[in-house]
Structure formats: C-alpha cells, structure tokens
C-alpha cells in the first residue's frame, strides 16, 4: 500500500511543478507588466529601470526559480485592482466556493448513486427511461443557460427562490441544482451501467446459488463493485465541479473564487488570475491524491495487485 501511495505522491508533485511552469509561462505572455505600472510618458530609461527592479531582465530560468520561491511563500504578487496580495484575496474567497462545490458534490453523488441503482434494478421501467433521457439531456445543456433559465422560472416568474447572492439556505438551491446537474447525469450513467454489469456477473450468480437474498446481494456486493468506477471518476467530477463554479458563480453573483476570476478577466488583473488558477489546481491535485488512496482502500486488487 505504501508503495502505491508514494508513487501517487511523486506523480502529484511532478504535476504541481508542471502546473507552476504553465502558470509562469502564461504570465510572461500577458504583456509587459511594467507598462501598466508606469505612467504613459515614461522614458526608455525609466522602463528599463522598472524592468530591472521587477527582475524581468533576468534569464527565464532565474525568473522561474524566483517565481517558485515566491509562490512557495504564498506570494503571487499584488492584485492590480485591489492593491492587496493576490494570494490573500484568493484565500478569502475560497471558502464560499468550496461550500458550493462540496454541496453540489454531495448532492450529485447521492442523487446519482440512488437513481443509478434504482434504474438498474428497475431496468426498462418508465423510471429507467426517464433517468436515461434526463442524463443525456443534462449533459447537453450549457450550464450557464440552465442557470439563467432556472432563475427565470423559479425566481422571476414564480418568486419561490432568490435570484442571486448567498445570504442563506435558499440561496443555495438554484446554484447547487445548476452545478450538480451534469455530475448527477454522469454518476447516474456510470452507476447504472456498473450495477447492470455487476448484477449479470458470474459471482452474483454464485451468490444467488448460495441462497443469499437479493437485497443482501445488491447492497453488500453489487453496490461496492459499482462504487469502484464511481470513485474512479470522482476526481474528475470534483475537477468539473470546481471548474463549473466559475460559470455558476457568475450567473448567480455568488461571492466566491469563480466570480473573482471572471471579474479579473475584465479588469485584466493577471496576478489574481495566476493565483486563482495556481491555488485551485494544487488543491485539485491533492484532492485527486486522496481519491487515489481511497481507491486503494476499496479495491484490494490495487493494493496487492
């Protein structure tokens, strides 16, 4: 098990370094930051001086090294708009985004699993057909459009729910529904297909031969086997969810990280974009590491392969 863990850890570290490289490279593509900091009529000499001060005239690998050192200390530079450290800004907005992402994760996993299991057991019933139509349609709709339509229907027309903001439990409903829609669909499909495959498998035949009840077989054996692919994609699901918060927060004016990122595009606040992408990616990589370990716990073939 520990060998598995360490190989996964090594992979995570390499990936994090790779991400940092990408972030570094793109930041250098974003145009000369000196021109933004200096007044319009600055002279050549002034520009050169500022470049030297910012370390921009050093060779690239030196710049990268300095960048890494800074980042390790949490220094992503200063937000061009807010004039505060970008990192701090990101961290202050992160909790709200995590709230949304995790709420959606729980909802999507639970609903997806249940619907998938029920669909598989009641195969070819109207419920099953409905689930399948639902899931393929859900995966075809642009999420921000869904959000807008939901707002239109539930907030504007029916006045049941608030349109935007995040001041209470009711404010969670529409954003979570919007965000969780696609993961519900994919979890449902995977669970259903895994359950169907499992229920037809030979070891289930043997379990029935042993005279064990269908309930026992489904909830002890089939479910666990079906969970394997679900956990396998949960890393992807989480990645999707966190990416999805960018859009959903925009639509619902949810005061989280995603919203900040979109704002920063318009204000060209590159340090904030950098910090946001960096922090989010590292967070996701670590989360995926946890998922990999969980996988090792659930499936003994991975542990003692």
């Amino acid at each position: 098990m520990s060998r598995y863990f360490f190989s996964r850890l090594r992979l995570a570290v390499i990936t994090i370094l790779g991400v940092s490289l990408i972030v570094f490279v793109t930041s250098r593509m974003s145009g000369d930051v000196t021109l933004l900091l200096l007044p319009q009529d600055a002279s050549e000499a002034d520009i050169k001086a500022m470049q030297h001060e910012l370390g921009l005239d050093a060779p690239y690998y030196v710049q990268y090294y300095k960048f890494l050192v800074n980042v390790a200390h949490g220094d992503f530079g200063e937000s061009l708009r807010y004039r505060e450290p970008a990192f701090g800004l990101i961290m202050s907005r992160l909790p709200k985004t995590l709230e949304l992402a995790f709420a959606s994760f729980i909802v999507s996993t639970v609903v997806g699993l249940l619907m998938g299991i029920i669909s598989a057991r009641m195969r070819s019933s109207w419920l099953d057909y409905f689930s399948r139509i639902f899931s393929i349609t859900a995966q075809s709709m642009p999420s921000f459009w869904v959000g807008i339509m939901l707002i239109l229907l539930f907030a504007v027309q029916l006045h049941w729910l608030p349109t935007s903001g995040a001041q209470g439990l009711t404010y969670f409903v529409l954003p979570v529904v919007t965000l969780a829609l696609v993961p519900i669909a994919s979890t449902l499909r995977i669970t259903r297909s895994a359950m169907l495959e499992t229920l037809d498998a030979d070891y289930v035949k043997f379990l029935r031969v042993k005279g064990l009840s269908e309930q026992f077989i489904v909830w002890k054996h089939a479910l666990r086997n079906a969970l394997v692919p679900v956990i396998a994609i949960s890393g992807l699901t989480l990645g999707f969810l966190i990416g999805g918060t960018v859009i959903v927060e925009s639509v619902f004016a949810w005061p989280g990280l995603g919203n900040l990122m979109v704002e920063s595009i318009f204000t060209r606040d590159y340090p904030v974009i950098q910090a946001g992408v960096g922090v989010t990616s590292v967070f996701l990589i670590l989360l995926n590491l946890v998922v990999d370990l969980l996988f090792g716990v659930i499936d003994p073939r991975v542990r003692f392969g």
Binding site: P142, I148, L152, S250, I265, I273, V277, T280
Partner: protein
Amino acid sequence: MATVVLPSQSRAPSGLTLHWRRLRRLPWLPIVLLAPVVICGIFGSAIFPHDPTTIDLMAPRKPPVWLDGGSWQYVLGTDQFGRDLLSRLMEGCRVALIIALSSVFLAALIGVTAGMVSGYYGGVVDNIIMRIADVVFAIPGILLIILIGGAVGGGFMTVLISIVLVSWVLYARVVRGETLVLRERGFVALARVANCSDARILVRHILPNLLPTVIVLTTLQAGFALLIEAAITFIGLGIQPPATTWGLLISEGRPYMTTAWWIPAFAGLAITITVLGTNLLGDWLQEKFDPRRAQR
C-alpha cells in the same frame, strides 16, 4: 454423405426489404436533431427568412408567434434591435459547425498522434507525453482558458486554441491505451518481421484499428466543443460581436431576460439540441462498434 436438400432454408430478403431494414436501423433521432444545423450551416444565407443583420427599430423585442404581440413575420420573435431571432439562430449554425469541426479535428490530430507515439514507443517518450497530459488535465478547463485568454485576449483563435488544449488529452490517453494493446497483436509482429518502418506500422496498421474509437470520441467532443465555446463567450473571452454565435445570443440576451426571455431561451435550446444530437450519435456509434460495451 448423400446430398440432401435441407428443408426450410430461409431465403435472403429481396432488395427492397433489405434496404428498408437497413434504413430502420439508422440512428434517426440524432439525424433529425443535427440535420437542420448542418443544412443551415452549409446553405446559410440562402435560406434565412430574414437578413439576420437587418435592424428593424420598429419591432424590437417582439415575442414569438404563439404569444400576444407575435406574428408569423418573426416566427421566434426579435432581439433588442429588431433582428429576427430565427435568422440569427440559423446564422449561428455556421459558426457552430466551423468551431466544432475545426477544433475537434485539431485536437484529434494532436491527441491521436501523441497517444500513438506514447503507446507505441513507451519508455521516456511515453512518460514525458503523459506527464504533459497530466499537467494540462490537472487544471480545470475553464481555468486554463482563463489563464490563456486572460493573457492574450479573446477572439476566434483563443476559442480554437482553448478547446484544442482542453480536448487533446482525452484522445491521447484513450489512444495510448488502445495502442498498447494493439502493439502486442500478431499483425504488428508480422509487420516488424517484414521490416516495416515504425511510421508505416503506425499509420498503415495501428491507426485503422483505432478509427472506431476515434470516431466515437470525435462525435462526442464536437458537442463538448460547442459547450466550451458557449462558456468562453459567456465570460467574455469568446468570439466578439458583430459575429453571431449562440453563446453570444445568450450573453447578449441576458439583460433582457424578463422582457424578452425568448432570446436567451431559444439560443440555449439550439445549443442543447445540437449537443444532444452529437451525444446520441456518439452513443449509437459506440454501440455499433463495440456491442460488448453497449449501453443496455
């Protein structure tokens, strides 16, 4: 053994019945959903009911024909400048087709090549390519797009490059997996013995076997490409007006949500229908190519 005529030997169906049976097995729903898009995309301006750019300030925000105030002149209503919504939607088909096809083609090109090389040669090359894929994949698509788009600005090229960057990884990984398996197959060993060059083996022997999977992936990715384009446009990094894309229609229509809901509604519906078409087609193809893995 004596030759005996076997009784009750069923005869092959006649020509007409055979064609009818073949027709019935086509994937009708995706075809019905996608045909309008393709037709509008190709024939474009020839079949618009109105010129999508003509502004009619006398008829802004007219509702669709089945609501009060609507008329058959503007079947789906008009936008804030009085432009016919249906025509604008039809115009959007062209951009949708271009984006879907070109981005998917490029992503497939890069991804399949990377995957084949990775799977076939293994070792260091495999390691490097897969680590690059891991890194790109580790950053959620939208954020990667924001990272790049925020640096270089928006526009068609940004959209294209973003979609390609986000999509190629899937191709690479899947193709790599299949190449690993194919590499061990008999016909590859035979080709090596016959002194075929690696490139030849890859192109003539391995690639054709990858084709079914690649085709399924491409179909599905085409749909995702449209969803990504819409999302990019929504955050302001996409194709800019005066071009017409469905994503833009939704964005532009957002302020008019309460007064002219049909603008964002039908634009989004257009996207949904198209992506639904590609998803259904992809599923059908998958079932056709590998009945073992068919969705039950």
